[in-house]
Amino acid sequence: MMDVINYLFETFSSNMMDIPLIAPIVDFLLKIPVINFIVALILWKPFFAVIIMPGLVVLTLYLLYVVWYERKLTARIQWRVGPLEVARPIRGAIQALADGIRYFFQEAIVHREAHRPYFVQLPILAFIPILLPIMFIPAGSAVGIYTPYSIQLTVTFIALIPITIVAMGWASNSRFAYIGSVREAFMYFAYEVPFIIAVISMIFLYGSGDAYVAVEKQSAIPGALLNPIAFIVYIIAMLMATSRLPFEIPEADQEIAFGPFVEYSGILFGLAMVLAYEKLYIMTLLFTILFLGGWSGPYCPLLGDLNGPLWMFIKTIVVISILVIVRSIYARYRLDQALRIGWTSMLALSIAALVVGGALGVWLS
């Protein structure tokens, strides 16, 4: 038993995040039994990447931030104030927490017509395709599982998310949920092909599906400037994939009353509703790696290994903060219009991006 623990401790401590800023504290903690094991586990690079940064903990903080920020920014553009009174000194920043708590304690109704097991499981199951890509997305030296195909793998897992949403709609067994599921499936068709082609064009450009290679290649010029067409296609595909306006078609609350999520309530709805934000987070992480130079940024020696994840997180938050503005600018397209955009202009653009990416890739190599 002790051997196993010792072995694990050795494994963890040999591959720890090296952060000079908190090094004395870590060193001190490592001397205490039991706690040293926990500290080593937390600072173990794969664990740190998946659970702390850019994984679960940061994801939760991000969710609280982005929901509040989106509401606040929208309110600002709309001549009003947005969430405020819940915590006036910090401009209502914990509004999302209040909503979350309310959802958590609210009754979760499973209606009679629903397919009970799936109806309850699916919002939780949907976390799997959200968390899996995080395991493969590296952030500097913090990486869950290193593989040279991390970009391809991430794209694959992202493609799984709509399936869970469609399944939720099916399990709800309601008219609007049904229509919403069909719309989700259609939207999937609209963005997936241009999205994958855009990613492939970047892989061509970098000559590898390895995130480290991609970031290294962008050390001089970021990918957004290398292949701006792919950049645009990716952004639009991201809006479509995360059902943000103007492509908020599957959820479309005024048309089909939140589509697949129409019957969800309480904590289940809370889980289902943040799916889109989580998806946005994952896709933006990938976006940062592909187009914005990933975790590269001015190096602060005090932070050591934390530099990479931190820069990546900052870039992601900035990108998302800019992206959420579209919510207050655009109206919702119709399904057929979105499909038309996907299969005409976006497909054409993505193929152009492929050509550019291929040519540049050959030239660069």
Partner: protein, 410 residues
């Protein structure tokens, strides 16, 4: 490709057989047999207020829409037969409270026509101004609802912010934000003072500036144009056939505005234009109203500029020239109309309002008061225009008609 029909015995869902769904069971069965789908939109639905639409879709294409109105039917016509003429003023305002001055004006004009009351000039100007304020307010309201129906929340907030100005103007004039009950037979209840008029004048200019923001972010927004253009087209012939009214009729190319064809109050003395479009689609319906807002603001400014001094209530009604306070009951409670039927047309914001009072010549309550609101008149055209469109267009067309069920159901 051949179409295959599977002859599977279909069991229509139980909830569609309820007494409260006003369609025959055969229709439901027929729908399910022919591979269609029935969707009930409303009454509790984020994209439909207070009414139910029974939508029959084939795939994504709407085959037929059956309205199920009456969710806000508040028995106005019956109540009117039980109240004094003057007590009916708040009642007739309630169908569309954002357009209250126009409804109020229509009803009061019917009484004045019966009694041959000459309204003082100043009162006429104030009434016209009120009616136009109501029109601007309603158009803004409808624009906001249209915006939220197609998912544009900023487009919802801006007009409602601008409506605050209208409400403030109404408060300063009449004392109430919405239901002013300000127009009474023979004039208006109170005179408008100079500072209020100046405030309203400035307000129209400030509003025009703010409307520019709205124009940039919503009216000219390419997603909005994509959603609305060529959707829910009513040709001129169809519009006439279904008896569509108001801006929706003008959007189909018919040059009909009660203010032009049968001018009342001071509309024939003011300079204004009637926006007409030939397109007949949702965007034309919206644009016509946007243009009307500009015209109405101009009318309000002209009213304030040209408003003469003098009484605001006719001598036939009250002795106090500028304020009915104190003698309201004595002057107005015992109105008896001569026997006959009196019908007035008024151009409300959403179209023609028909008030038809039947009096027996002895009672001081109407024998029968028939209110035909614009919503009720264009409901048929609204339903027909949705045929053949996509399901997502239902909300866009709904919003473009500015359909307000309380107004239609009365």
């Amino acid at each position: 490709m051949d179409e295959y029909v599977l002859d599977i015995p279909v069991e229509p869902p139980k909830e569609l057989r309820s007494l409260f769904i006003p369609i025959p069971p055969e229709y439901v069965e027929d729908t399910y047999k022919s591979d269609d789908f029935l969707i009930l939109v409303g009454p509790q639905h984020p994209g439909s207020g207070h009414m139910r639409l029974i939508v029959r879709v084939k795939g994504d294409i709407i085959q037929e829409v059956i309205p199920d109105p009456g969710y806000v039917h508040r028995s106005m016509e019956k109540l009117a037969e039980n109240r004094l003429y003057i007590q009916n003023i708040p009642l007739v305002e309630r169908p569309a409270i954002m357009d209250a001055p126009n409804f109020n004006l229509g009803y009061v004009r019917a009484i004045e026509e019966a009694l041959d009351i000459e309204v003082p000039e100043r009162a006429k100007y104030i009434r016209t101004m009120l009616a136009e304020l109501g029109r601007v307010g309603t158009h803004l309201y409808d624009a906001a609802i249209l915006a939220v129906f197609i998912g544009h929340t900023t487009g919802f907030m801006y007009p409602f912010a601008l409506r605050e100005l209208i409400c403030e103007a109404l408060v300063r004039l009449t004392g109430a934000r919405f239901t002013s009950s300000f127009i009474i037979p023979g004039g208006v209840r109170r005179d408008a003072d100079e500072s209020t008029l100046k405030w309203i004048y400035d307000m129209t200019l400030a509003m025009e500036r703010r409307l520019k923001s709205f124009e940039r972010i919503f009216i000219n927004n390419p997603t909005v144009i994509a959603r609305l253009q060529d959707v829910g087209v009513l040709s001129k012939e169809e519009a006439i056939k279904y008896g569509v009214v108001g801006p929706f009729l003008r959007a189909s190319g018919v040059e009909y505005d009660v203010r032009k064809v049968e001018p009342y109050e001071v509309y024939d003395e003011l300079v204004w234009d009637m926006p007409v479009s030939d397109a007949g689609d949702s965007y034309a319906r919206f644009l016509v109203r946007v243009n009307e807002i500009g015209q109405s603001l101009s009318i309000i400014r002209q009213c304030i500029k040209e408003m003469p001094e003098g009484r605001v209530i006719s001598e036939q009604i009250a002795e106090n020239g500028n304020d009915i306070r104190g003698s309201f009951y004595d002057s107005l409670s015992n109105i008896v109309l001569p026997s006959g039927e009196y019908t007035t047309l008024t151009e409300g914001a959403r179209g023609t309002i028909v008030f038809s009072i039947v009096s027996d010549g002895e009672s001081n309550v109407p024998y029968r008061l028939r209110i035909v609101s614009p919503g009720w008149l264009y409901l048929k055209g609204f339903m027909e225009s949705m045929k053949g469109e996509r399901l997502a267009d239902l909300q866009a067309i709904y919003g473009s008609f500015g359909y307000f069920p309380p107004e239609a159901d009365r």
